[in-house]
Symmetry: C3
Subunit: 324 residues, 3 copies
């Protein structure tokens, strides 16, 4: 390699210049603070919980009634330690931010709190399995391309996203900071489905295809609800206080009652918007008002401009130059 | 770590409670059954097939006419074994589900069937290369930001999704269960493009950007078709039988004829809907009826509510409080 | 395994048939040419740059003022070598394509050019950190669900995509071929957000949720701009020359001035389209014309067909059979 050593001699100076930008006021370094939860650690926790939720589907084959208890017992033991460590990190970080500590000193025993929360999460697993079994059933019942429930567990991205959301939501209920959002953003990356862990979602929930779905923090969704790709359950413009700062924590996202179906790319906005039970919202509809129960809302036959319904040369020419 | 051992003593009990939920009726465990196809095994197969389809582009550098035969020969040998194993697993699983076996006993030699199907797939590779070369050409011809065909092979997500779809579709034609959907769902995760492996797609196919594209199981797409991000080729509501159960396997998705272009976020629905050859469907158009050949369909200039075209303070105030 | 050896004997013949398709005219092999940039190498470079941009957030914990210089110095040294290698490969490849060499011989010292460009990129890091700190602030200011700026750095996909875009854009400015697009397509895969590295984007830029966002090559975006999921800043139909070949390199994508907000799934198209400063573009709006400053553009209350606002049996029946 024809490396020019005079160029390479600049590197120490460059390093120095970069390091000089890591100041205490700088919002994008995390130096000298106690460790944040580990992203790869959180992903590993999700893999382990999924192995317990759906034994025999993914990483370990050859499981049967004779060995499953050893397998699960070992996973539970590992998860206890992983969850305790990561939750303690998240609690310590939150304490530092809210108490405005400059270091990570505190009198609170975050490990003890983390351990108690870890065990509470593990206790949720039987309940999670009951709920997730209803979601699998909803996918099978709702998708004519689905031939067995195994396919749902194995490769449906909507089910993957809902699984991670339901785990993360339990952590929200336990007041664990930071980690629930890391989990659902990981699911977002994997599936294109962005469910805020704070949302409330009933049983038998099915998202088909799912890419582009956004479900906001304060959504409330009933049972037997079905969403298609690109559906947004979002906020209207945000309230700000007298100094123009956003007000956080209000109900900003809609309520969707039982047995509602929302088709592809529909957008439903606002914290006071309620879609009544048994309603159907059609493709690409845009709603900011409440819809009564048992109502079907569709776009009128769209106003289309149709150019050239023949194949003669001039019309085609026009078509090709038309600006879309 | 300030671990509380009394808390940790709960873990065996917790394990027991979880294991008790793994019953034979439970739809989300796979205990004591013969192994499902391995997800990581399927991904490895796709990597190996791509190395054969596009030699020199990804994992192995320094390939030339003098060593390529050894390299491909070795990959083919590996693929033969991998495909045989995974296809046999898929066939055995399908047999168990359709015959309602409780275990994986059967008189059928699934390995022998798997091997024959594996070799049939490998025989498709020269034909796949011919078709995929037309797809690369279509991307280069259709994207002004594309400077060389190498870029298409190297980093176009639309081409990645179409590659995986074309492999999976050959497996559908060979009646291999389960694996084709695993493959296209992997591509969906990687690219945000969801093509059902059962769809039929002609040569010179190009999907630009692609995030959010959904192509349903019974779509028929001609040659020289171009789709943009967010396009749905989907189903209308599903037919159910007299007992309210979905009818599976009917044509539910549209037919797109040769040389059609569909712009971003357009939605075309229904098994009887045909978009005639040489037609153009504009951005965000929503169609459930047949379109004649050589037709351009556009949204009318949308009915827009425009507020405040001046910069004075009151108008801005209004704008900022307006609920979108 | 009940492998049939007669079947396996076909493999060498199959290999031969496949290798015979790797001809010099074939556009999808890269045999005997000099190596392309390595995809995994480019991803590794991005990880290393992110560790320098945001120290303490990801791979390395326990960093503090006493050890950060060693850590960054070592990363800079590694990056120098990695960037030199990959940029040299990209330059050599571009030379081969544009000069129509059949091999990779050339009198140009691509390593020396690569090294100089590598060092120029490293010099951009302090400036990148300043700009990216404004993007973090914009995310915090614009999202009521965001509680600390740490969350933005740690898990906001919009910020991830903008980080990678800003790195890639510096490489575009340095005239490095091929690699910028590889970088942003990696970010596209990770986040569903497709920003062309050639676009120009001002400070305080925020993309919320982000799945499905497409920002074209010749977009110009001002400061304090906010985009939601599914927004397309795209091209109208493409100009072709007298022989029907696409004209590359013209301004095809819109200009978005300072303090504009574009809500979910809006589509703004065309190289002459300007959205004036302080304007708001509502959800699902479709625009191909210039918008004056301080204007709010909304869809009119959509024309909706509402069917059945009661729960009596016949209406429900109708609803369920309605074709959406």
């Amino acid at each position: 390699m024809a490396s020019d050593f005079r160029l390479k001699e600049q590197l120490p100076k460059l390093t120095e210049q970069i390091v000089a930008t890591y100041t205490p006021e700088d919002s994008i370094n995390h130096l000298g603070h106690c460790a944040l939860p580990s992203y790869s650690g959180i992903v590993e926790i999700l893999m382990n919980i999924k192995d317990i939720l759906y034994p025999g589907y993914r990483r370990k084959v050859g499981l049967h009634s004779g060995n499953i208890e050893y397998h699960v017992g070992s996973l539970i033991d590992t998860l206890h330690d992983q969850l305790t460590t990561e939750i303690a990190r998240a609690l310590r970080h939150e304490d530092r931010v809210t108490q405005k500590h400059t270091d990570c000193e505190s009198d609170i025993d975050f490990e003890a709190k983390g351990q108690a929360m870890a065990i509470e999460l593990l206790k949720c697993i039987p309940g999670l399995r009951r709920t997730l079994a209803t979601d699998v059933q909803a996918a099978y019942d709702g998708d004519p391309a689905c031939l067995t429930t195994d396919e749902v567990v194995f490769c449906y991205p909507g089910f993957e996203a809902v699984t991670i959301y339901r785990i993360a939501h339990e952590l929200v209920r336990l007041d664990v900071p930071f980690i629930p959002r890391m989990m659902t953003e990981w699911a977002h990356k994997e599936t294109g489905i962005d469910i805020h862990p704070g949302a409330t979602i009933g049983d038998y929930f099915f998202i088909d295809h799912g890419t582009g779905v956004v479900i906001g923090e304060t959504c409330e969704i009933g049972q037997h609800v079905k969403l298609y790709q690109g559906v947004t359950l979002g906020a209207l413009s945000f309230k700000t206080d007298s100094e123009g700062v956003l007000i956080r924590g209000q109900k900003r996202h809609p309520t969707i009652e039982d047995r509602v179906v929302v088709y592809a790319n529909a957008t439903i906005l606002g914290g006071r918007t309620i879609v009544g039970h048994d309603s159907v919202i059609g493709s690409s509809v845009w709603i900011t008002k409440t819809v009564s129960p048992s109502t079907t809302v569709l776009l009128e036959k769209p106003q289309l401009k149709v150019r050239g319904a023949s194949a003669d040369h001039e019309v085609l020419e026009d078509r090709l130059n038309f600006q879309i």
